[in-house]
Amino acid sequence: MDDCQSHAPVPALQTPLHAWHVANKGRMVDFAGFSMPVQYTSIISEHLAVRKSAGFFDVSHMGRLLIRGEAALEWLDRIVTCRLSDLAVGQVRYGLVCNEQGGVIDDVLVTRWPDAWGLVVNASNHEAVVAWMMAHPVTDATMEDVTSSTVMLALQGPEWWRVVQSFFPESILALPYYRGAIVAKDGAEWRISRTGYTGEDGVEIVAPAAVGEALANSLLQSGAMACGLGARDTLRLEAGMPLYGHELDIQTNPFQAGLGRSVDMSKEFHGCKALEALRGDVHAPVRVGLILDGRRAARQGDQVLDGDGNQIGRVTSGTFSPTLERPIAMAYIRREMAVTGQSVSLLVRDTHVPGQVTGLPFYKRQAR
């Protein structure tokens, strides 16, 4: 069997939790230039801990920007595709950043904090988003990059609240979905929002970098399992959530990704003219879910074929679903074939694996 370990040089960047990951037996891999834990024990165990109780992820590598000033909203409104002007204080919304051709530069979360507008970006696109915003500046607005002075931990799972009930105020436990609040803790400001990327309930916690290890230890000691990027990927895939570099890239527009709900065509923003035309493009391949027979997973790049063996699309993400116990995938395929129940075939290495088109998400949590 091949050696699984990469012998590449150690990546340049580390989060404030790097030593903690290593001390807690995290298997470190390169992700977007950061040394990150792919797993601590088993990806499936970590995945199931999030589905059944609570797990936490270091997502400090993601970019965190604070936009302030009279023109902060105006600036963001031109950069991000979703409606922002109606956000209540504390409200969070998902949107895309597009270039003038309507291609996706990043997918982001915007929060209207009391004191600023927050933007959370993918680590892999941090530089590109900042450069894009700086290339299209407004007067009376500033950007502060708080990434390296903070940590961000995502605590996810139905029991998340039990884990933090002894050290967060009731106001945090009562946060509505997609709302955030600032909490003063030990003389510093923590920003906490009821958001996540797993399909489970939970919060994302931004705290000063200096308290990162203590926070991780508190979460661990209070019953949350440390989870790595491997489980983060299987969880988000089951939840039908796109990942930049897979379902989203500069050649893909939000409509074909099925994210039209995050595009406010009534406002002016970079890319809106191109998107006006792209919205009506019936030839663009569209994102679908696929569920496969057997146990082999399809992976990014695998061909999707019709019953006659003609290629109709390509897989963008695939794995063995720990919750469904079947291989699942997301792919872009010809629009005519994008019908739930449509039979397809996937070329997985040299084998034709039968599959069907299915709706997204693959998994939805129980309402409580």
């Binding site: 699984c4 990806i43 499936i44 299987t234």
Partner: protein
């Protein structure tokens, strides 16, 4: 840790000689590196392989790895339990998690196979 009656390939397969046949599996180190085994592809009975040829594939949540034939021979049996329970290879890699039984062609070329001590030395040198 690695049974001393077995021989080991540097690609992490073990071999147990059994008359003119041998049994092949994956080492504890190999399965611990993989974790989360979801699928194992084994050859069909009757397939002839040379030492170093691909013998099958083992898939985990994150990746697929090739399994290599440590000796030359013909496949006479494969472990049918692994299709419904691939995790067996992780729970009992030297026993119930065996992969393939081969009829060995000619002598077992154990020249390129290591004993347990040499294999353990190789493993501790591998960055992991």
């Amino acid at each position: 840790m690695n049974p001393s009656d077995l021989r080991y390939a540097k690609t992490h397969e073990w071999v147990r000689a059994d008359g003119d046949e041998c049994v092949i599996g994956l080492t504890r180190f190999a399965v611990d590196q993989l974790t989360d085994v979801t699928y194992i592809q084994l050859p069909i009975v009757g397939k002839k392989v040379k030492a170093g040829d691909g013998l099958g594939e083992i898939e985990s949540v994150k990746a697929v790895s090739d399994i290599y034939a440590p000796v030359t021979g013909e496949v006479v049996a494969v472990n049918a339990d692994l299709s419904r329970d691939p995790g067996l290879v992780s729970r009992d890699p030297y026993g119930a998690g065996w992969l393939v039984r081969l009829r060995v062609e000619g002598a077992v070329e154990s020249g390129h196979l290591m004993d347990a001590r040499a294999y353990e030395a190789q493993v501790s040198e591998t960055p992991h």
